[in-house]
Amino acid sequence: MHPAPSIIVFTAISGLGFGLLAWLGVGVPDVTGWSAFAFFFIAYALAAGGLMASAFHLGHPERAFKAFSQWRSSWLSREAVLSVATLLAFGPYALALWLFETRLGLLGAVGSLLALATVFSTSMIYASLRAVPRWNHWLVPTLFLLYAISGGALLSGEIYAAALLFLVLAGAQLLYWRTGDKLFHAAGSTAETATGLGFMGKVRQLEPPHTGPNYLLKEMVFVVGRRRAERLRLIALLSGAILPALVLSIVPAGHLAAAVAVLLHVIGLLAARWLFFAEAEHVVGLYYGRR
């Protein structure tokens, strides 16, 4: 799949924002007043900023409000509804903490659940697509949730929880790559099933339908070099999870250590998300002799 910067930034940044909100909703860290304002400002900037980035890849952003209507069937619509519900639920909760130094515990807990449900629905947009076998797996929502919760723990200053979660994240990420590499083959789609011509022998593209490019090839057929993918996997794993975990557990706690860990994590997260799209092969490539 074409790794569109707007979607990579959206899923990465908004995931961090909703992850931070999930922690803030259960009172971690237990902040009030201006300190609470700062935390919620960051969380809202990430979550809402990410949502706005997602609008850039729409052909008709002016009709985006229509996307709230099909929550019964569409994960994209559910994501839209849940994200707005989350931001609305946290409004009074954040205001009460900031201005009245009061924690509306129940509202916060509901908000946390909504925040995690938003991340889950984002991941299900991809995980529900059978036509992209690498995405069509339960590890995708697991991974999205782990990125949100571990990144949220880091942003909320939960050093030990974050370090521990980063190790779990590293394991899950490795497992997903190992599993994902086999999913296309396991789905069973080949040039032979795509054309139904397998009974006549091995099927090979003789001539594409048009000499020029087309929307399908630009959007859904993207080939990543093997060595490039390996290098990016290493960056994603080290920078996204292992190094931040090390920094958090070795370097004495402080703003500088936290800033370094956040920077490392975001770089790794972006690399992992780029790979998530770029490595995902759509079965339509089979019609064009490409995977």
Binding site: M1, H57, L58, G59, H60, P61, R63, A64, K66, A67, S69, Q70, R72, S73, S74, W75, L76, S77, A80, I125, S128, L129, R130, A131, V132, A187, G188, S189, A191, T193, A194, T195, G196, L197, F199, M200, G201, K202, V203, R204, Q205, L206, E207, P208, P209, H210, G212, P213, N214, Y215, L216, E219, M220, H282, V283, V284, Y287, Y288
Partner: protein
Amino acid sequence: MTSLPDRTEKKLGLVIDLDTCVGCHACVVACKGWNTQGYGAPLADLDAYGAEPEGTFLNRVHAYETVPDDGPAAVVHFPKSCLHCDDAPCVTVCPTGASYKRGEDGIVLVNETDCIGCGLCAWACPYGAREMDGKEKVMKKCTLCVDRIYNENLPEEDREPACVRTCPAGARHFGDLADPDSDVSRLVAARDGMDLMPEQGTKPVNQYLPPRPKADRVPSPPPDDGPVDVLAPFLEPVADAPQGFLGWLDRALGAGGR
């Protein structure tokens, strides 16, 4: 509503005969010609006279080569458009309700004024049947020429999709695949019509008729067990190498060349 209908009264669709298709692309041209001026936004061409021309098409003709373990390879021309699937994954992913499958005839359509151009339906389709228009930024797909098949302003013989009407080889057929007695259903039964990518679980309505086996009709040449022609022995070359003066010349020149 982007939920799929429980069942559709009719299943209008195409039957495409891969045995008959000659790969002339007339269906592609007729489709673009009709659909760029009728229902919905036109089908844009980008950079039409430039270095990388491209455009929106609802129907494209691929060409494949099949290579068996033994025997000669074969070429198959392969038109591909929306299969109007019973279990259409493109419909249920739509966040706005712009994509829908009609309960009365099973046609999958896009309401372009509701489409936000997110492209998710094109991702969900395993067949590459949906293309985002480069100019209008809304999703375009085969409508089964919904503005022809029910159009009482057209003569009756024209009330079928433009691709079917134009096909000079008679490789495309249109009809109700829910009715077991329809011409298309009988064709599918007689010729073992098949689904594309059945493992994707989309239950496509459009059916493809496989090429008929060619080996049965064109027997291989008989084994070569000697001359067939009575004159052949007299026509064989008389000598392998020239002799006499010519032989000397040949050897002399050959040696020089070596």
